[in-house]
């Protein structure tokens, strides 16, 4: 029997609403980090070693504080940075 247009539309809506939900994967996981007071976006996951690469600090003497806590050198590759992390990266300079 020919369905009315009205019925066909209802049939389509019913089909659609019963479809299982399809999640669209995130295009990228970008996180925001504040480094020395400057806000920057980075692609996650990123660990401290990768951040140091990005900042071109290899071979230099520096220290890093993450959210108020020192990040020991031994943990650089283990610590994954999280969105909203506040980082201080310091070096020794001339002073009295």
């Amino acid at each position: 029997m020919a369905q009315s247009l009205h019925d066909k539309i209802h049939l389509i809506f019913d089909c659609l609403s019963n479809q299982p939900k399809i999640s669209i994967p995130a295009l990228s996981s970008m996180i925001q980090l504040t480094i020395n007071g400057q806000s920057q976006q980075f692609e996650a996951p990123i660990n401290v070693t990768q951040l140091i690469d990005h900042l071109a600090l290899h071979g230099k003497r520096f220290a890093i504080e993450r959210n108020g806590e020192i990040v020991p050198r031994s943990q650089f590759s283990e610590q994954l940075l999280a969105h909203g992390d506040q980082l201080e990266v310091v070096v020794a300079v001339g002073g009295g």
Partner: protein, 272 residues
């Protein structure tokens, strides 16, 4: 040997110098070398993100292998800032724990906030730091800092960067008399005689930065300061003569003076 001993480590030089305010790294290095200093202070600051890729760092010029670095807490006005700064410094210097603590109270005068200084010192000492502490010249506070475990007391001669010299030698003397740890004058030295006076009073050492860096010829002043500290120390150890208003004690013999033409009885009377 008359060495300066701080936290169990021995140093030949009693002159400690800062590394700030120089024209460039070359001048910094030359002045520090000329001064003969073995202990040098450095500040801890944010690195310039993206701008320092090829540039040398201060520690390339004054390496920890050659000098005893003393990270400071310049610019810190709170306990928290000072403690965080020194934790970062210790990490930066591979666990090196000899540090200079200063907690400032006023950005205009840079006078230390002694209440915060005491609190910060206590925390740092508990965390295993060897604290050389910048202090006012209050003898009671200086002794308290020593009693909580500071390894050296560093009273100001006058305000940081002022070059006014030793304004209160009396307080400094009291601090020296009461101290069982080294007393190192820090802040306010302006010229060589200031450093010599500090050493003659009995100080164990002198720390200075502006006096050298702001001199018209910093390298020459560094040389002067080296000698000033050495001569002041020798004078102190030699034990100076007493000061008297007058003593009628000439350096040349009184007897055997050729016949005088003067009739003045006072001059002609023989000494007793």
């Amino acid at each position: 040997m008359d060495n300066l001993v701080i936290a169990g480590k021995s140093y030949t030089s009693r002159l400690l110098v800062g590394t700030g305010k120089y024209k460039d790294f070359n001048e910094t290095r030359t002045a520090v070398e000329t001064s003969g200093a073995e202990i040098i202070t450095v500040a801890i600051r944010r690195t310039n993100i993206g701008q320092t890729a090829g540039q040398p760092n201060l520690l390339d010029v004054l390496p920890p292998s050659q000098y005893t670095l003393l990270p400071n807490t310049a610019g810190c006005y709170t306990v928290d800032d000072a403690v965080r700064t020194l934790r970062l410094a210790r990490e930066l210097l591979d666990g090196h724990s000899l540090v200079k603590l200063e907690v400032l109270g006023d950005p205009k005068t840079l006078f230390p906030n002694m209440v915060e200084t005491l609190k910060a010192a206590e925390i740092l000492i508990k965390e295993g730091f060897e604290v050389m502490v910048y202090t006012s010249d209050d003898p009671i506070l200086a002794k308290q800092l020593e009693e909580i475990g500071c390894v050296a007391i560093m009273p100001l001669a006058s305000l940081i960067g002022s070059g006014m010299g030793i304004l209160n030698p009396w307080n400094l003397q009291i601090i020296i008399d009461n101290a069982k740890v080294p007393v190192i004058v820090d802040a306010g030295v302006g010229t060589a005689s200031d450093a010599t006076i500090a050493m003659e009073l009995g100080c164990d050492g002198v720390l200075m930065n502006t006096a050298i860096a702001a001199a018209k010829n910093p390298v020459l002043m560094a040389s002067a300061m080296r000698k000033a500290v050495e001569s002041g120390r020798e004078a102190f150890l030699a034990g100076r003569m007493a000061k008297k208003l007058y003593s009628a004690s000439p350096s040349s013999p009184v007897d055997g003076v050729i016949a005088r033409t003067s009739d003045d009885k006072k001059i002609n009377q023989k000494s007793a």
